[in-house]
């Protein structure tokens, strides 16, 4: 009897490991959380895209829940995402852009062509703020609460469904 149980142990171990690996291997490695979740927005000093003399820093994001969108003129998905960002601005979400690894003229032309839902755009031509944010592509979107703490991170394109199902509920949650 004891021997029978011991024999049963082996297939059970196998099954356990198989389930564990099945679950682990079916995870999508690109859908991982930002390392900055629940941490303060990194400090920075920069100028804005529209005015090269206007200096801004991390206090720009404090006081109200803010959606920070990292974009660049070179990024095709950012163009497709713009209607959704304009919709979010219509819902009175405070929007801040980070113009990431871009050229000022191109960034401004982008806003003229596709619309500008942003209260301001942080100009980040060398990608320094992007680096501190752990950004490795665009678009990426963060929701920062009134105390300047990062509460939500969306990697990649925001679809119209994402606006309703993820972004707006998250903004409400932290208001």
């Amino acid at each position: 009897m004891k021997r029978r149980l011991l024999l049963l142990l082996l297939p059970l171990c196998f099954l356990g490991l198989a389930l564990f690996f099945y679950k682990g291997l079916s995870l999508d490695p690109s859908q991982r959380d930002s390392a900055l979740m629940e941490r303060p927005f990194p400090s920075f000093e920069a100028v804005t895209l529209r005015d090269e003399h206007q200096r801004v820093d991390q206090t720009l994001l404090e006081g109200e829940v803010t959606l920070v969108n990292v974009w660049g003129e070179w990024c095709p998905a950012c163009k497709q995402e713009m209607p959704q960002l304009l919709e979010l601005a219509d819902h009175d979400v405070r929007m801040m852009g980070v113009n990431y690894r871009d050229i000022r003229e191109k960034g401004l032309a982008f806003l003229n062509e596709f619309g500008d839902p942003f209260e301001a755009n942080i100009f980040d031509p060398q990608g320094e703020l992007g680096f501190d944010l752990g950004v490795y592509g665009a678009p990426e979107t963060f929701i920062v609460d009134a105390n300047g703490v990062i509460r939500y991170h969306h990697k990649g394109y925001i679809s119209p469904d994402d606006v309703r199902e993820r972004i707006l509920p998250e903004v409400e949650k932290w208001r």
């Binding site: 690109s30 959380d33 390392a35």
Partner: protein, 156 residues
């Protein structure tokens, strides 16, 4: 003419060598220790964008940024641990090829050791069981029965 030919040959060599390097810049350090540390650090961190490449091995823009930063931090005299921490703070534990030993990773590091120990235990038990079995002598009654079976004449 000979000079032009030499220049052309040199240009071809430069182009060929940069093509072979796949767009990854070469960094020269005066200090060979620094060079080795740079090499080890860029080989030990995963590129966040291209999952199966180290940052020292990838020409993704973010990998180039990270190599730049590793280089800067080395020049500033930061230690290897500080540099790795700096990157993990921004890009997460995900970039470490060698995950750290902490609550979340005990299972990962412990399971292989636990399995080896379990295997050793099973082997030990099997050896002991076998030894006990072979050293067990036959009882008088059993011996008699064996003798009887051996000596039994087949009915012909």
């Amino acid at each position: 003419m000979a000079l032009m030919r030499a220049v052309a040959a040199m240009l071809i060599m430069i182009v060929a060598s940069s093509a072979a390097a796949g767009g990854i810049e070469l960094r020269q350090f005066d200090d060979p220790v620094m060079q080795a540390r740079y090499h080890d650090l860029t080989a030990a961190m995963r590129c966040p964008l291209c999952e199966n490449q180290a940052i020292g091995d990838s020409n993704a823009p973010i990998a180039a940024d990270m190599r730049d930063r590793v280089y800067q931090l080395l020049q500033e005299g930061r230690s290897d641990i500080e540099i790795v921490d700096y990157m993990v703070q921004r890009f997460g534990e995900y970039i470490l090829y060698n995950p750290r030993l902490e609550n979340r990773t005990y299972l990962l590091w412990g399971l292989p050791i636990a399995l080896v120990m379990l295997g050793a235990l099973v082997v030990l038990l099997m050896i002991r069981a076998r030894r006990n079995a072979s050293s067990k002598a036959l009882s008088a009654e059993e011996r008699q029965r064996v003798e009887a079976l051996i000596n039994r004449k087949r009915p012909s």
